[in-house]
């Protein structure tokens, strides 16, 4: 309810963000039209980044603001289970993110003339990616002082946008960074969404789902622990 007046604005920003990633990165990489793999990465990376921007950027920013204004303590003093608060907020954020995801995909089909096959796993993949981003984002927002949250999340967004195998294959990265991404969630987020839009012949991999679930659980545990902690 509190965010009601901002929802239309945030949806628009999300749509612009996804569409700009598709078109903007295509300018950066003029050879992309001759590179179907690159086009696929970019097309499916855009919705991934839309979800990352919400979960690791906007949502933690809002939490930090709430914390600074004492709203978080107000919520904590209400007779509402912590999990219900988290679930309600996650639902709102996923709702805000979805139009951006759809717009990104639509822009990609226009720009690259791609044939995307929507696999039944797309919906769970999107939800898992969104939840993982939100869980990690909330975990950060709850544990880090409000002033620092913006800095941390901006760094993460930067890392996700430019230094993660989300919009491009991992083999373009230096070895150590590629290795780091076998532990970080970003590459797996891109992978589950990419594979459920363009299923590889050998089938959709299970590993990314497992790794993302672990990250999701870690973030949620952290957020839940902080929510329940009494100073």
């Amino acid at each position: 309810m509190r965010l009601r007046s901002f929802v239309p604005l945030m949806v628009i920003v999300q749509v612009i963000l996804s569409v700009s990633i598709v078109f903007g990165f295509a300018f950066l990489n003029p050879g992309i039209d001759a590179d179907p793999e690159g086009a696929l990465f970019l097309s499916t990376g855009a919705p991934t980044l839309a979800l990352i921007a919400i979960g690791l950027g906007i949502a933690p920013g809002q939490v930090a603001q709430q914390k600074a204004q004492g709203i978080l303590d107000y919520q904590r003093a209400l007779p509402v289970p912590r999990t219900a608060t988290l679930a309600a907020e996650a639902t709102v954020w996923v709702g805000i993110a979805l139009p951006g995801v759809a717009a990104g995909l639509w822009a990609a089909t226009l720009r690259f003339d791609l044939e995307l096959q929507i696999h039944p796993l797309l919906a769970p993949a999107l939800v898992l990616v969104a939840l993982t981003c939100l869980a990690v984002g909330y975990g950060i927002a709850y544990t880090v002082p409000p002033m620092v949250v913006q800095v941390v999340t901006n760094l993460l967004l930067f890392l996700a946008l430019l230094f993660s195998p989300v919009n491009f294959p991992a083999d373009r990265l230096p070895g150590w960074l590629a290795t780091a991404h076998t532990f970080l969630p970003f590459a797996y987020m891109a992978q589950v969404i990419r594979e459920s839009l363009a299923p590889p012949p050998e089938g959709i991999s299970v590993l990314p789902f497992a790794v993302l679930s672990a990250w999701c659980l870690l973030g949620l545990t952290l957020a839940h622990w902080v929510m329940n902690r009494r100073g």
């Binding site: 309810m1 007046s5 004492g70 303590d73 107000y74 919520q75 003093a77 209400l78 007779p79």
Partner: protein, 322 residues
Amino acid sequence: MLHLSEVSKEYRRGVRANDGVSLNVAPGEVFGLLGHNGAGKTTLINQVVGLLSPTTGTITLDGVDLVANPAHARRQCALMPQAHAPLDGLSPRQAVQMLGRIRGASRRRAIECADALLAALDITAWADTTGERLSGGVRRLTAYAMAAVEPGRVVMLDEPTNDVDPIRRRLLWQQVRTLAAEGRAVVLVTHNVAEAERSVDRLAVLDHGRVVAKGTPAELRAGTAGELRLELLVATGTPLETPIPTRAPTRRTGRRHVLSIDAATAPQALEWAQRLRADGHIEEFSLTPTSLEDVYVDLVGPGATSADVTTAAPGESGTLVS
């Protein structure tokens, strides 16, 4: 009903916010927690609702341990925090109804109670204005309504009258009395001593986390029976020479002089003050029984006058003789 026993709270950096606080609040009672900023009042009520946990000591409500059952504490204790309630994008009506629903009222009851409360506080005119456009006072009254719409057994109000205009303050106090009359325990945190004196049944004065006095306002004033206070507002900045016997050194705050005198000295003091006014040395004066505020200032020691004790405006409390 609400029982705090030897509650101490020490923060990690070694700051002792509460030190062996024991209190009992009965149903139907408005209990005041007085103390200047940083005396540990807010820390204490945050421990009751489970936002903080005491380092040592117990907090029980009707025998149920609230420290071990924070969920029970939150169901039974409604808190109006000192910070503004979250009202962005919400109108007072929506916010109060929503809190009623969250606290377990039926939809219909929430609507009825919200309307009744907003009307009782005379803020119906802003009932459908969103929070960003509300004045501080209306936000504060809305926050009160959010706590009072479907309260549990205990209602805790942290500085409820800040920013509220004098007329609506009275309405607010009537509502607080109603809450108590319905059998709830009301804990009122304030540093406005004059207001507390008129509104609470019993009170505790906190200083540096310790209870330094406890009782009814009359009990706390009892030690000063036969004592009067003469307050003078001098016309110039020059301190006045006092020709009458006083019980304590004159307290001066700017142009305001406060003298503590024996009741027997009253005629003499009155004559002196009238003469000063006739000669234009003072602008106004008042002779009143010693107020709780005087007791309070004595209790929390010298320097407390500068420590953000909200004082009554001239003429606001007691009997004005001038």
